[in-house]
Point group: C2
Chain length 280, copies 2
DNA sequence: CTTCTCTTTTCCATCATGTGGAATTATATC
DNA sequence: GATATAATTCCACATGATGGAAAAGAGAAG
């Protein structure tokens, strides 16, 4: 039960969510660290020290993960990176709720109409994740998130729109938990909390270069009748391109599309009677 | 009679790759099964029987996965589905190799020029995965794969283009391994093998409605100077829109873009030491 | 409301399973 | 070629994952 580590300064002060299954926790931390590695990938020894695990353990984990395609290994450099199989898994995850499929036509229409890049954003615990993205003609790649992009709830307009629609108690919990991260983005809990009221009243978030210089965003939460709000659609504009004249038109368009999506979700969760009778 | 306890066929059906870590294997199988579940998600008991595991084990696994955001749970229906966190992880996986970032501008240009939907496809073990996708004006959603789409190597034009560029020995191994799956797609090992020669000669794959009725595809492998070929770009056309007059133009355009990508990859960080010590 | 059935969750004794140190082999650096 | 560093294999050990049993919930039917 004791860990007589000689060189490890701290056992694990980080304590990223620890569940009842040790291996799993380690695998998750391992993959997350791999995700942070740059293009070159990461080498075993570095991962081992970074995670505070023995090289043999990391080696075993990596080998197992590689067998499942969750980790790819460049033979030449002997470096590891996240495996392509994860991409396939995530594709299913994105389709799983049906939300992406449901929203894609709307994203397409909005992107086509506004000529701007449009996003579908979904809550993921304390974060917001870009689930789908539709390019407009004006590409502002470097400033915006790609599919799979992750931001703390409260950072980014779509993220704010989602946060604003959570129950009050949960909002506070989220704010508290994310507080340390806000600093990284140059904002504070107070500032974030301050934005929420307006969003709730108006039903949308309008950012005029407030998060990123020169980038304006219109974001609107998707509020399915019965269920929780966990998604939003956001349109990114180069600030100079979002003229007041257009703004109202885009808001109307967005509102319209969102309502149509919500209508599509109002069908009650399909009740599945277990009629499966394959094996006996 | 309800409990299929009578047989307990095999503790390990061994159908899927089994690594040295039992929990991991189970988690992978669990997630994959969740991925196959429809929009409604899957319930614990069904997962348990489907995987041949005890309910308590599955419960523990699900709880742990949920803590990490890898599984989402709809409280109302008590059903489980793949978690949104996986989407974020996959985003990093897709960016990890730098390939997606490198290719996106090309995808954008091609999609803009041809007005058709364009794909970046990457090898993932025995499969090919859609890593990125750019919509054109003509949306043919239902026929084509979304991001994360998975097909066996050999099925689909991009997939074929990648397969054609693998070393001969590996091609045969892949064909043999995928043979059972080809049948599901209405083709055979021989047919697939037959297509490869032409691709190698021409340097691209042109499908005129051969895989899917009415859908034509031009696909070209990305062949980085030193490394293995693991990616391809594909353009999907409604067959009637791919006129012979345009075909050559699109091929030229594609070739040009691919070459530019290859040029961008030609600066690998590490030099490749030539220590042949393979299997003998 | 009561009863019955099916599903999910908790508990716990058991031992299979994953663990890390040490030894070995491969690879990079000088 | 020599040295240093990283990757891999081996192994005895006890930690941590396991499944059965039983409790707690959730519906459905009477």
């Amino acid at each position: 039960m004791d860990h007589p580590e000689t060189l490890t300064p701290e056992p694990q002060p980080d304590a990223t969510a620890t569940s009842s299954i040790q291996v799993l926790d380690r695998v998750v931390r391992l993959l997350e660290r791999l995700g942070e590695a740059g293009d070159g990938g990461e080498q075993l020894s570095r991962l081992a020290t970074g995670l505070g695990l023995s090289a043999s353990t990391v080696h075993r984990l990596l080998a197992a993960l590689e067998q499942h395609g969750w980790v790819d290994r460049e033979e030449a450099t002997r470096r590891h990176r996240l495996g392509t199989r994860l991409i396939a898994l995530a594709g299913r995850a994105a389709d799983g709720s049906g939300l992406r499929r449901l929203c894609r036509p709307a994203l397409l229409r909005i992107a086509a109409e506004t000529q701007e890049t449009t996003f579908l954003i979904v809550r993921s615990g304390l974060n917001a994740v870009v689930v789908d993205r539709q390019e407009g003609s004006y590409v502002i790649e470097s400033l915006t998130q790609g599919t799979g992009g992750l931001l703390p709830l409260g950072i980014g307009s779509g993220s704010l729109a989602i946060l604003a629609c959570q129950p009050a108690a949960e909002v506070e919990a989220i704010l508290a938990a994310n507080a340390p991260r806000y600093r990284e983005y140059g904002t504070t809990v107070e500032a974030v909390r301050g934005s929420l009221g307006g969003i709730r009243e108006q039903g949308y978030m309008l950012a005029n270069g407030s998060l990123i210089q020169g980038l304006s965003v219109i974001a609107m939460p998707i509020r399915p009748p019965g269920r929780d709000v966990t998604a939003a659609i956001a349109i990114n504009f180069i600030t100079t391109r979002l003229e007041p004249a257009n703004r109202q038109a885009w808001l109307t368009l967005l509102k319209q599309e969102v309502q149509s999506i919500e209508a599509g979700m109002s069908l009650p969760p399909r009740r599945t009677r277990h009629s499966r009778n394959g094996e006996t």
